[in-house]
């Protein structure tokens, strides 16, 4: 359970006993990543918010069946991502990821390595990622933009880890091809 807070198991056990405060702490710890996973899937902030909220309610109702020794995050992400897929709109209201505005003067200067990829270049890379087929876009967004592990990506996308590996490799190849063809 890499990176898992020690107290998470205790919070899970307390929540399983009906402690809503403990569950609130668990939701707070995971709400950002849950919302972003839902946003990547729905491409709509309102839908993502609904999906994450509903997912947390469903997770509460299912918490009695969760094994406290297992990592909670993949389990939560699986539930929220399922809700997000159910809410994905068939047409319209799709939003696109964007790159943040240039760093303000108070922020740390980019490293030389970061500086090699300028703001325009990053926007172009993100545009190319957004134009990939859905399966490739989702797996690369989960693995690289959300920095999910293979296990978490598999849970969020409802596929096996091997599928995550193969889709990642194919997605990277397509992205590289698109990137280099525009260079």
């Amino acid at each position: 359970m890499e990176g898992r807070p020690r107290e998470e198991r205790a919070l899970v056990l307390a929540a399983q006993g009906g402690d809503t405060r403990a569950y609130e702490a668990l939701v707070r710890a995971h709400q950002e990543i849950a919302f972003r996973v839902a946003y990547v899937i729905t491409r709509n902030a309102a839908d993502a918010e609904d999906a994450a909220q509903e997912g947390f309610f469903k997770a509460w109702r299912a918490l009695g069946r969760f094994r406290p020794d297992e990592p909670l995050r993949p389990w939560l992400l699986r539930i929220v991502a399922n809700e997000a897929r159910n809410r994905r709109r068939s047409a319209g209201r799709r939003e696109h990821l964007a790159v943040r505005a240039a760093a303000s003067p108070g922020e740390a200067a980019p490293s030389p390595e970061e500086a090699t990829v300028g703001a325009d270049e990053r926007r172009r890379l993100l545009d190319e990622l957004e134009r990939l087929p859905e399966q490739a876009r989702l797996v690369l967004a989960c693995r690289y933009l959300l920095e999910l592990s293979e296990e978490e990506t598999a849970a969020a996308l409802g596929v096996r880890r091997g599928t995550v590996k193969s889709r990642s490799a194919r997605g990277l190849a397509r992205l590289r091809e698109a990137h280099e063809s525009r260079a």
Partner: protein, 249 residues
Amino acid sequence: MNLERELQLLAAEIAWPPTPELASRVASVLASQRGVASPRGIAWRRHVALRHAPGRRPLVLAVALLLVALGAAFAVPESRGAILRFLHLGGVTIERVDQLPPAQERPLGADIGRIVSRRVAQQALGQPPLLPPLDPLPPLHLEGEDFVSLVFLDHGEPVQLSELGHTDEGIFKKLVVGATSTRFVDVDGAQGIWLTGARHVFAFPHVPPRLAGNVLIWQRGRLTLRLEGRRLTLDHALGVAHSLRRAKM
């Protein structure tokens, strides 16, 4: 070009939408569901139900109740925390939708099921129904397996009281549009939801939806209650809620 490295650098530059504060919302709604078992209890009850009631269709599928709200000139609070897209209270799930089904103007007592005795109502709810102190008492109706209703006058206006005997599943589903005001209220120390400000559409499966009025939803023990009236005010609704007593069998 190290594409993976560039993607990792890109991750730090993404302008994600602000993460909504879900934890306090979720906790607030869960804390309001007094009488609802802990997750462990829910899982245990489901296990028992599956073992001892094979073949019984899930109650969730038995009754679906839609409540939708109409109205354009209605103030919607700016905070999404004030109006949630999804709310849960007892057996009720309220979901905001973008489009509403067509509805007819029909009486409150239309399509609320067959008239039943108090004993049948008790069997359906799993406990005696909560009733207003009226003599004579209007007839009780049963729709589906466990949705008990009665219609009576409050302050000269017809209101419909409906009761559901299960609180831990989304038995009811209520759909509202953004034009509806949805707020939490205190109902005798328990949390309730007051839906008002726009015309509503109320429908059972296979029954034509009808326009309806203001609605108070709350819980008492394992009962989920719903009070509806076209000109119902919150004060009057809270008065009715406070007056309810267990039926004498």
